[in-house]
């Protein structure tokens, strides 16, 4: 019941070549910057884009294999999709939207509607069953779209930025509902998202796609603790530095980072922004990692402030608003940044 | 915005004004010599004729009057004759509605009477030609039509509308012959040329038109004569209209139609001389 995908697509000068697998009962998050190829990947799985090379096999049947001239049209694939724009049929009620897939399979109208009502009631939408999509709130519409895709019990469920269109105030509730629903889904769920919280909340496994290639795969824990790409690092809001380690020293771009534990060879080093301390003058003390920096930009982040720094190595620091006031930082101010070696984490690249 | 509004109002006003002007009277005549004349009789003037006139003539006069018009213009350089050909009924109605026409030539006296009764005719109309009816069929006469009686069950027959002179006369001829064509087999044309076209271009099996139209159609049709005791004579009057802007030129044209030259053209085209 697994998905084995080797997707090679050339489209408008864009070259996508990714391979990954996904297992049923697990949620795979596909993350990556804009234009990386995430949507094209979804469309290849759905069948609206045909492969130029590679192979897609789902639950034992081949969906697309250009080499063997095999191609299953979208309507014959057991793949459900929730679009970013939801695309609920505007002329049908919520009930009929959900029932649509069943009726397409030949289920009688009354029976299809009954089952649709059941599903809607289970998500607390019984009162909205007769409403048109235009009368639904963002969160309600999203749930209806999800039910519509799930009601045909697909082997593979694709979700394209499922929460992007929602008001931030309802996003949290809807995300929780989505998580709950996906947990009960027995097939394979793939979620494309930009939002790190979505990925962190919903995913069991992660595939990172950058520039049409897979930058990293693994479980959520693996990927977040050892990010191997700038994108994931940014996703997680952490600093990611590449360098060459010899013992407890890491050479990177002419600067040395001091580690607590020894390492050898090519490494990634993560530095949590909250571990970067800022000083107006060169600090005293035991921190062996200290560099003169210039403030590039200051952004609020939640209740704290994120400071982008230019210097021997690019760093983002996170400090309290109070500290910002004390340091009197502005764009262009010169500061010293220091990090305790014990706060760094290095791992092979 | 207000400037645009004023401009629009101005244009609208001018448009309405032009429309009002255009409908009454006729177009301004170019300089002409107005000789004192009453329509009908020949008038000699010393100054050469020039100017433009409009002539409404029955459709059956299409070829002959076009020839006559060209000859007239050649004889009187500087003149121009413009024709409108249609059924006499349509044309007389247009004139009654105020169409700016100088001369009217009808295929029957009834339509001319409508105009004289309305006081629109200058002087007396003059009969200038006569015509007769003939049956036309597709080339080769595939249905083997030999008389009016054969028309009753030959297929779709093309006749002029009942109020078009040739349609009225066709009805009379059929009555004279004691023939009734079922209504479901009769297609009616708005004028004699359209009636003819139904046979030459369309699928009508046969039709009844004037002898002159059959001659004008040449090889496109075969003809079957209608015996004299069944046939109908159509009398063609012509007259100058009171609304004419150039009575001298209009009279000259009417005279020309009845002159030796005009009559020669009409005879060549198959018309009978005015009785």
């Amino acid at each position: 019941m697994t998905l084995a995908a080797q997707i090679q697509v050339r489209l408008d000068g864009f070259d996508l070549d990714v391979s990954f697998t996904a297992a049923p009962g697990r949620v795979l998050a596909v993350v990556g910057p804009n234009g990386a190829g995430k949507t094209t990947t979804l469309r290849a799985l759905q069948g609206t884009v045909a492969l130029d090379g590679g192979r897609i096999e789902l639950a034992g049947s081949v969906l697309d294999d250009p080499g063997a001239r095999a191609f299953v049209v979208p309507e014959a694939r057991r793949v459900g999709m929730v679009h970013q724009d939801l695309l609920l049929f505007p002329h049908l009620s919520a009930r009929d939207n959900v029932a649509f897939g069943l009726r397409a399979q030949g289920v009688a109208k009354a029976e299809a509607r009954r089952r649709a009502d059941e599903q809607l009631a289970a998500l607390g939408l019984a009162a909205q069953a007769g409403s048109r999509p235009s009368a639904l709130s963002g969160g309600q519409a999203q749930r209806v779209a999800l039910l519509r895709a799930l009601v045909t019990q697909p082997d593979l469920l694709l979700l394209d930025e499922p929460l992007a269109a929602l008001d931030p105030t309802v996003r949290g509730d809807t995300r929780r509902d989505l998580r709950r629903t996906l947990r009960t889904f027995s097939g394979i769920a793939i979620v494309v998202t930009h939002d790190p919280i979505d990925a962190l909340t919903l995913a069991d496994d992660v595939v990172v796609i950058e520039h049409g290639r897979v930058a990293q795969t693994g479980t959520l824990a693996e990927v977040t603790s050892r990010p191997r790409s700038r994108h994931v690092a940014e996703l997680l809001g952490t600093n990611l530095i590449q360098g060459v380690a010899t013992g407890t020293e890491v050479q990177t771009g002419g600067t040395v980072i001091h580690l607590a534990d020894a390492a050898e060879g090519d490494v990634f080093v993560t530095i949590p922004p909250s571990a970067v301390a800022l000083h107006t003058a060169e600090p005293e003390g035991s921190a062996r990692n200290r560099w003169p920096m210039t403030v590039a930009s200051i952004e609020p982040s939640g209740e704290r402030m994120r400071i982008r720094l230019d210097g021997p190595l690019p760093l983002v620091a996170e400090i309290t608003t109070a500290s910002l006031a004390v340091l009197q930082l502005q764009s262009g101010t010169e500061v010293w940044a220091s990090v305790k070696a014990t706060e760094l984490h290095a791992y092979p690249r | 915005m207000s400037v645009r509004r004023s401009l629009l109002a101005l244009f609208a006003g001018i448009a309405l004004l032009l429309a009002a002007c255009g409908s009454s009277g006729g177009s301004e005549a170019s300089d002409t010599t107005k000789a004192p004349s009453s329509g009908g009789g020949a008038t000699t003037t010393e100054a050469p004729l020039e100017g433009e006139i409009t002539v409404s003539a029955a459709a059956s006069l299409t070829e002959s009057f076009t020839d006559i018009g060209a000859a007239f213009e050649e004889e009187h350089p500087g003149t121009k004759v413009t024709f409108t050909f249609d059924s006499s009924g349509t044309l007389s109605q247009q004139i009654l509605d105020g169409a700016p026409v100088d001369v009217f030539a009808s295929a029957d006296e009834k339509n001319m009477e409508k105009l004289t009764d309305a006081g629109l005719v200058k002087g007396e109309p003059a009969v200038f030609a006569q015509n007769q009816l003939v049956i036309v069929t597709k080339p080769g006469n595939p249905e083997g039509i030999e008389s009016l009686a054969d028309l009753a069950d030959a297929g779709i027959i093309s006749l002029c509308g009942e109020d078009v002179p040739c349609g009225k006369f066709a009805g009379e001829a059929l009555e004279n012959a004691g023939v009734t064509i079922p209504e479901g087999s009769v297609t009616r044309g708005q004028n004699v040329k359209a009636t003819l076209a139904a046979v030459t271009e369309g699928d009508a099996v046969a039709g009844i038109v004037y002898v002159t139209d059959a001659i004008a159609a040449g090889d496109a049709v075969d003809t079957v004569a209608i015996p004299a005791d069944e046939n109908v004579i159509a009398t063609y009057p012509v007259a100058v209209l009171t609304d004419t802007q150039d009575a001298a030129l209009a009279s000259a044209f009417v005279d020309y139609v009845s002159s030796e030259e005009g009559q020669a053209v009409l005879e060549e085209r198959g018309f009978l001389p005015p009785a």
Binding site: E75 | T187, A194, G202
Partner: protein, 254 residues
């Protein structure tokens, strides 16, 4: 802008008001009840409705092809379909004659093999009317199909619907207002058709003499009757067109 619109409105309204004014209201019903009048009215209604059905049945696939496919020479196809809108109707009639008269290859084959003659027949009237009316339907529906988000159809396919199911349950309902508007416009055009009808189907009482032909024929002999018939045409068309909601003409908007 408003002033120009008023002038335009007068252009339409004045002739119609003039017609209402000229009518002999006293004898109107008698004029209308005459056998010639009732025959013409019945024939007009029957043929215009059938022509509309034909226009919809043939026009729908045409509109689909023009809106959704990428066949080579599509611009030429569209121009061909819209040609009857631009041609003088009599020219359309002449064109139909050259294609379907008994002297044409197709027409003679139809007659020899099936005994069918389209000229001078009610079927010929329907054909002539459909010829001039169909472009109105195609142009209306094509615009609606273009304006329709094609992704809805992709979603439906993704849910397992076959192409027929997609068309029936998603596409058609979403363009239904445009289909209705297109059909009504076609019907109105078919009802008023004169030139192509008289040229191709002729002018046979009870068989091809539709209302416009009857009016024309009676204009000199019996103007009152002609005007009475004109009023019927005017009022029926007006009533139907008033029902044409402007939201239908604007495309499928909810």
């Amino acid at each position: 802008m408003l002033l120009a619109a008023v002038v335009a409105l007068l252009l339409f309204a004045l002739p119609l008001i003039g017609l209402l004014q000229r009518a002999d209201w006293g004898n109107l019903l008698d004029d209308l009840r005459s056998p010639t009048s009732t025959a013409a009215m019945r024939l007009s209604i029957e043929t215009s409705l059938m022509a509309t059905v034909l226009a919809v049945a043939l026009g729908m696939p045409l509109a689909w092809v023009l809106a959704r496919t990428d066949i080579p020479g599509k611009a030429a196809v569209r121009a061909l379909v819209l040609l009857p809108m631009v041609l003088p109707p009599v020219v359309g009639g002449v064109a139909l004659l050259s294609a379907f008269s008994r002297r044409s290859p197709l027409g003679s084959w139809l007659y020899d093999v099936f005994g069918i003659q389209l000229t001078f027949s009610p079927a010929g009237v329907v054909l002539a009317e459909a010829f001039v009316a169909m472009p109105f339907f195609v142009i209306t529906v094509e615009a609606a199909l273009r304006g329709l988000d094609a992704r809805y159809e992709q979603v439906a396919a993704g849910l397992g619907a076959s192409p027929t199911q997609v068309f029936r349950r998603v596409t058609l309902p979403l363009i239904a207002p445009a289909v209705a508007a297109g059909a009504i416009l076609s019907w109105a055009r078919a009802l008023g058709e004169f030139g192509a009808t008289i040229t191709f189907a002729g002018n046979i009482a009870g068989r091809t003499r539709t209302l416009p032909l009857a009016i024309y024929l009676q204009l000199e002999s019996d103007p009152e009757s002609a005007i009475a018939l004109s009023l019927v045409l005017l009022l029926v068309s007006f009533a139907v067109l008033v029902g044409l909601r402007d939201r239908w003409l604007g495309g499928a908007r909810r």
